[in-house]
C-alpha cells in the first residue's frame, strides 16, 4: 500500500499529541506566523499562496491567493476573515477532525490570513452541533491570546488580531459563504445574490474573505515550506497539495485520509479504505459530498483531482467519498439525499424551494411503489428547470443525485414504476406527504 507524506494530519497522528499549544509549538507551530510578521509584507504572503496553487477546500475550489487579492487595499473601514467551519455537506467530516485535534494549525493559518488581507477581526463560523469542537477552539484561542499570538500587538508587531468562535444553530445553507455572512449578522441564513462579492461587500458590507477550515490549516505549511514546495505536490498545476478525503459508506475502514490530489478512487477505497465491507461489489460512489453527482465502478480509476473528476461528470467538492455496494437501491439513495436537500433549502428561490419539495414527493411516491409512467419524465424536466436559475449553488447541487442516478441507473426507477403499475390497487389513496 502506498504511503503518502501527510501535511495536515501529521501532527495529530503522532502518539500523545494533544493539540495543545505546547504540543503544536513543539512541532514548529507558529513559526510561520513569526516569519510572516518579521519578514514579509502582506502582498508577499498573498504571492506565496498564489504560487502554491492552493484552492479552497470548502467545495468550490476557488484559488485562495486570488481570492485574497480581491480584497481592496485602501478600504477605509474594517475588513474581516470568516473561517467556514459549518461542515454540513453529507459525507464530509474532515474539518471536525482538524478543529478538534489540531486547532492551533488553523488558528495560525487564520492569523496569517488576517495579516495578508489586513483584517483585525476573524470569526470561526462553526456548525451548532459541533459543541466539542467549539469548546476546543475556544480553549486554543485563549492559549493563543495568552501566548501573544492573538490579541493586541501580536508578537510585538503592533498588529491586532482577534478571533472569535461563532456557533450556528442548524442550517446547512449557512455553509454557503453569503448565507454564512447573513447568519453571522444575526439574520436568517439566506444567501445574497452576487455580485457584489464578499471580497468587497461581505460582513457588515465590508471586505471579507471566507475560507474553509482545511484551507486555513494549509497556510502555515505553505509559508514554512514555500509556495513551490506545495505546488509540487499532487497534480499540478490545477490540483496542488494534499486533501483530507472523508471516506464513508460500505467500506471496511471509513474515515479521514490525507493524500496528495491525483490518487485514484480505487486507491482510496481499496488500498486505504480496505475495500468493500462485505463481499458485495461496489455499485456506486459519490466523489465529493452530497452535492456531487454519483459515479460508477467504471470511474474507479479516475484521478482525484479537480479536472479529472469534472471530466468524469462529477466534482471533487468537499472531498467526501461515499461508497455504496451492490444491492443498494439508487432510487432510495437519491431519495435520502433529496430529503436532505428539501429539508435544507432556505426557500429563497422559487425553483429550489418548490423544486426540492416537488422532487422529494415524486421520489417518495416512486420509492413507495406509487409511481406513474410519466414520473421519470417529470423528474427529468424538473431537474432541468432548477440549476442555473437560483441565487446560490444549492440549486445546482440539489438535483445532482437524481440527475446522476437517472443517468446511470434509470432502469431502477422504471422498475419501481412498473412494479407500482402492476401492483397498485386502483383508487388507493395516495400516501399523505409530511414534511
Amino acid at each position: 500500500m502506498a504511503t503518502y507524506e501527510k501535511i495536515l494530519l501529521k501532527n495529530m497522528e503522532q502518539p500523545g499529541y494533544t493539540g495543545s499549544l505546547a504540543d503544536y509549538e513543539g512541532t514548529g507551530g507558529y513559526r510561520a506566523l513569526r516569519t510572516v510578521l518579521r519578514d514579509m509584507q502582506p502582498d508577499q504572503v498573498i504571492e506565496v499562496v498564489k504560487k502554491s496553487g492552493l484552492r479552497g477546500r470548502g467545495g468550490a475550489g476557488f484559488p485562495t491567493g486570488v481570492k485574497w487579492g480581491f480584497i481592496p487595499k485602501n478600504h477605509p473601514g474594517p475588513k474581516y476573515l470568516c473561517c467556514n467551519a459549518d461542515e454540513s455537506e453529507p459525507g464530509t467530516f474532515k474539518d471536525r477532525q482538524l478543529m478538534e485535534r489540531d486547532p492551533h494549525q488553523m488558528l495560525e493559518g487564520m492569523a496569517i490570513t488576517c495579516f495578508a488581507i489586513g483584517a483585525q477581526t476573524a470569526y470561526i463560523y462553526i456548525r451548532g452541533e459541533f459543541r466539542l469542537g467549539a469548546k476546543i477552539l475556544e480553549q486554543a484561542i485563549q492559549e493563543a491570546y495568552a501566548a501573544g499570538y492573538l490579541g493586541v500587538n501580536i508578537l510585538g508587531s503592533g498588529l491586532t488580531i482577534n478571533i472569535y468562535v461563532h456557533l450556528g444553530a442548524g442550517a446547512y445553507i449557512c455553509g454557503e459563504e453569503t448565507a454564512l455572512l447573513e447568519s453571522l449578522e444575526g439574520k436568517r441564513g439566506m444567501p445574497r445574490f452576487k455580485p457584489p462579492f464578499p471580497a468587497t461587500h461581505g460582513l457588515y458590507q465590508n471586505p471579507t474573505v471566507v475560507n474553509n477550515v482545511e484551507t486555513m490549516a494549509n497556510i502555515p505549511h505553505i509559508i514554512n515550506r514555500g509556495g513551490e514546495w506545495y505546488a509540487s505536490i499532487g497534480s499540478p498545476p490545477k490540483s496542488c497539495g494534499t486533501r483530507v478525503f472523508c471516506l464513508s459508506g460500505h467500506v471496511k475502514r471509513p474515515g479521514n485520509y490525507e493524500t496528495p490530489m491525483g490518487i485514484t478512487f480505487r486507491e482510496l477505497i481499496y488500498d486505504l479504505g480496505g475495500g468493500m465491507r462485505s463481499d458485495k461489489p461496489l455499485k456506486a460512489f459519490i466523489p465529493g459530498g452530497a452535492s456531487a453527482p454519483f459515479l460508477t465502478p467504471d470511474h474507479l480509476d479516475v484521478k482525484m483531482d479537480f479536472e479529472s473528476v469534472a471530466l468524469a461528470g462529477s466534482m471533487l467538492g468537499s472531498g467526501g467519498v461515499t461508497v455504496m455496494e451492490e444491492g443498494t437501491n439508487m432510487v432510495w439513495a437519491a431519495l435520502r439525499l433529496m430529503e436532505f436537500f428539501y429539508h435544507e433549502s432556505c426557500g429563497k428561490c422559487t425553483p429550489c424551494r418548490e423544486g426540492t419539495s416537488w422532487l422529494v414527493q415524486t421520489l417518495q411516491r416512486i420509492w413507495n411503489k406509487r409511481g406513474r409512467p410519466e414520473d421519470v419524465g417529470v423528474l427529468d424536466e424538473l431537474c432541468g428547470n432548477i440549476p442555473g436559475r437560483t441565487v446560490c449553488a444549492f440549486g445546482d447541487a440539489a438535483v445532482s443525485p437524481i440527475v446522476s442516478t437517472l443517468l446511470h441507473w434509470r432502469g431502477e426507477y422504471e422498475a419501481l414504476i412498473r412494479e407500482a403499475q402492476e401492483t397498485m390497487p386502483r383508487n388507493k389513496e395516495i400516501p399523505v406527504f409530511t414534511s
Binding site: P90, R101, A171
Partner: protein, 174 residues
C-alpha cells in the same frame, strides 16, 4: 430576567461584534441552554437587548432547526438519517430506541427524560450510525451500545461512551 443572571456572559458576547444583531444566535443559544427551549419571554428580552423587534428574533429563531420553541425532554436524542448513516444502519438505530423507550421520532418519554428526533447529517458520516445527545456525539452505534448509552444517561445523566476529540481512523500503533 434571564439575561440579568448572565450579565457578564452577555456583555462578553456583545463585545465580540461591532453590530449588535450579530449576537442574536449566541444569545439564543444561551437562552436555550438555560431553559431547554427558546421561550417567548427570552425572545422578547433578547430583542430588547439587541434593539430588534420580537418578530425579527422570531423569524431568525425559526430558520434554525436547533432552536426549540417548546420544552423537550432532558436528553435530546438526534439520530442522523442522511444517506451516509442510512447506508450503515441508522434506520435501525431509530427502531432500537423506539423499542427501548417506546417513543417514535418527534415524541418524548412520559418521564420527560428523552425526546427522539431524526435529523439530517451531523458531520460524522464515517463513524455512523450515530446520534447526538444534547452536546455529545455517540458513534458507531450498535443495539447494545445504544442500550448502554440510554441506561447511563438515565442513571448518571452522562455516559462515558461519548466521542472525545475526533480522529478516525485511529492511527495504527507503530
Amino acid at each position: 430576567m434571564l439575561l440579568d443572571r448572565f450579565k457578564n456572559e452577555v456583555e462578553a458576547i456583545l463585545s465580540r461584534y461591532p453590530v449588535k444583531r450579530s449576537a442574536l444566535l449566541p444569545l439564543l443559544n444561551l437562552a436555550q441552554r438555560e431553559e431547554g427551549f427558546v421561550s417567548e419571554s427570552a425572545m422578547k428580552e433578547i430583542a430588547k437587548v439587541l434593539d430588534l423587534t420580537p418578530a425579527q428574533v422570531f423569524e431568525t429563531v425559526t430558520f434554525y432547526t436547533m432552536f426549540h420553541l417548546k420544552p423537550i425532554g432532558k436528553f435530546h436524542l438526534q439520530v442522523c438519517k442522511s444517506l451516509m448513516c442510512a447506508l450503515v444502519g441508522s434506520d435501525e438505530v431509530v427502531v432500537w430506541i423506539q423499542k427501548k423507550l417506546g417513543i417514535a421520532p418527534g415524541q418524548t418519554t412520559a418521564d420527560n427524560l428523552f425526546t427522539l428526533s431524526v435529523v439530517e447529517c451531523l458531520g460524522s458520516c464515517g463513524t455512523g450510525p450515530m446520534m447526538q445527545v444534547n452536546d455529545d456525539y455517540y458513534e458507531q452505534l450498535s443495539e447494545e451500545k445504544v442500550g448502554r448509552v440510554l441506561d447511563d444517561l438515565k442513571r448518571d445523566g452522562t455516559c462515558s461512551l461519548k466521542t472525545g476529540p475526533f480522529m478516525y481512523p485511529q492511527p495504527l500503533a507503530k
